[in-house]
Amino acid sequence: MAKRKRLNTGVEWVQLETTAADWKAADPELLGTMLGQLHLIRAFEEAVLDLAGAGLVHGPAHSSIGQEGGAVGSIVSLRPADAVNGSHRGHHQFLAKTLAFVSGGALDPTALVTPDVQTLLDRTLAEILGLASGFSGGRGGSMHLQWLEAGALGTNAIVGGGAPLATGHAWAQKHAGTTDVSINYFGDGSSQIGSVLESMNLASTWKLPVAFFIENNLYAVSTRADEASADTRFSVRGQGFSIPAWRVDGMDPLAVHLAMGEALDRMRAGEGPAIVEAEVYRFFHQNGPYPGSAFGYRTKDEEGQWRARDPLERMATEMRRLGLLDDSEAEAVREQAVTAVAQSVAAVVEADPERPGRRRIRPELWPDPAVVDTGIRGDASELAALASAEPAEWTGPWRDVKFVDAVAQTMDRRMETDPRIIVLGEDVHRLGGGTNGATKGLAEKYGPDRVIGTPISENGFLGAAGGIAMDGRFRPVVEFMYPDFMWVAADQVFNQVGKARHMFGDNNTVPLVLRTKIAMGSGYGSQHLMDPAGIFATQAGWRIVDS
């Protein structure tokens, strides 16, 4: 009989629950702030659903009602320079981060709505409704909600689409010498998709300060968690990627907060990524104002059970128990939130003169259709200061050089003069400059922090480079060994990098260079030999130049 030895990952995986003592020890101001955020988010989400029910939200409205605890608990003590991004269901994380930003991190439940808070609610609602005063001029809407200043990198409509971007952002934070972190929020439904798994691997291998926060609400639209994964404790993935993980009850905001705190400690200490899995429940269906039970994939009973665990109720109850809150105060928090949100709604909606009893968006608030194609790309004015030259007209002396060496030498010159430039790609750091020698000498000269050999995961590392580029402190040059690998990375190349600038209302740039080589004639066959120019030419956000 063969000898067996049990192997271990040695990677931490814990379930964390609060005790009464934890609640007692909690900072009252923290609890008050969380309560305030919870209510503001709840009231806001209710209003959004109401507007959706009235047909005034163009597109889907993915409500986070029921899941606020996970967002508030994990974000409340982040720094402004910390970053979050989320999924299509991301209002709660966005609001938590931006509320913390505008309020300096603390909310007073008795005076909840400062002017800054009101403005924030107004602008968020405007963006979700597609109006010009929104953060992205109405272009992003619910699923592309971004406020970079506040550290909200942008929710993402593609499942798992934000994971590589957050990973890249974390890379930038680390290599800029900070202890800032990034958190990527996604759900049980996203925990199987390649970009998430690739990002976990990159984060772990490169020891990046990124947290993967899994909101396990048991359903991906109508598909149950146990239909999507063998182990429905999704934080188990940490075991496979050497990432320590915490499981918590997402309906207990304090538990989330504590778990996140431990994760933050680890990340800020430079030890690498973390996974936090919060069990939550969305009280409504995927999209819109009806309960999931109405669609038949879950029972009213189940819904009832979870409603009993409403995080707002939990928070209020605990605070009452601690004597920090009485009923009327609790009521007042709710009222302030509802009033503030009602004000936001009133600012954008009016009675429809043509349909009595109905409302409509105030017509003057729509963005001007004329701006439809602005902000796809820059105007290249950043080149104006640089000397341009036409080699064909050069009258000075020449230097003989092999073409590929010219490529490497140009990169060398650029990396020498601009410390922001980094190179990522498979084997670019070895083999005398990658598979063709185009990065020759660079790894030796600039080291592994600037010339990075990547694991084979094009979607992951191109997306990470996208995140790095969007952060702006570094300028990545990514190499795809063969052009056809664009298909492997297609979501990040086209849906993310190619669209980001326009989609977010021209609020960010993506200065990323992607190098690849046409290899027709090399015998590498049907899956390696395309000319990428044609496909990239279909994508408005990309510029294309040949070498």
Binding site: E382, L383, P511, V513, L514, S526, D546
Partner: protein, 173 residues
Amino acid sequence: MNAALALEDPVLVIEHVDLYGTSDRVPDTDLDYVIPPGSAAVRRAGNDVTVLTYLSMVGHTLEAVEQTGTDAEVIDLRWLDRASLDWDTVGESIRKTNAVLIVEQGARGPSYGAWLADEIQRRFFDWLDQPVERVTGGEASPSISKVLERAAIARTEEVVAGLERVRAAGGIR
């Protein structure tokens, strides 16, 4: 590359295996100059047909032009995306020659020239003496067998054939 790195936009920089090993030369300075978007290079001036191409096909085109004795104007596009294409140079050439041949190496499906041909016929319809002619690879992606790979892509011979089609259609001797 310098321009690509300086730009705030995502830029795809395409190289070609055929060119890596070629002996080339560069201005003997620090390699700092940029070739900004909107600058195509006329590699050969001519009067009878405008050939638009890029990368390794520039060399093949020049060879084919030489072989057929066509008085072609060969333009190396360099910047390829819709917003960065040098329409001034392209337009000036088409108004002179009244015939266009777009030359690329790869398969027809994801081909680059398809949108370019559409754009050209839209902008320069009244200067065109014949339809925009194309040289591309075949329909399917090139496979590994050396002979089949060669048959699937375009090189000098295919450009020769393309030039001859243009000449025939335009009555160019």
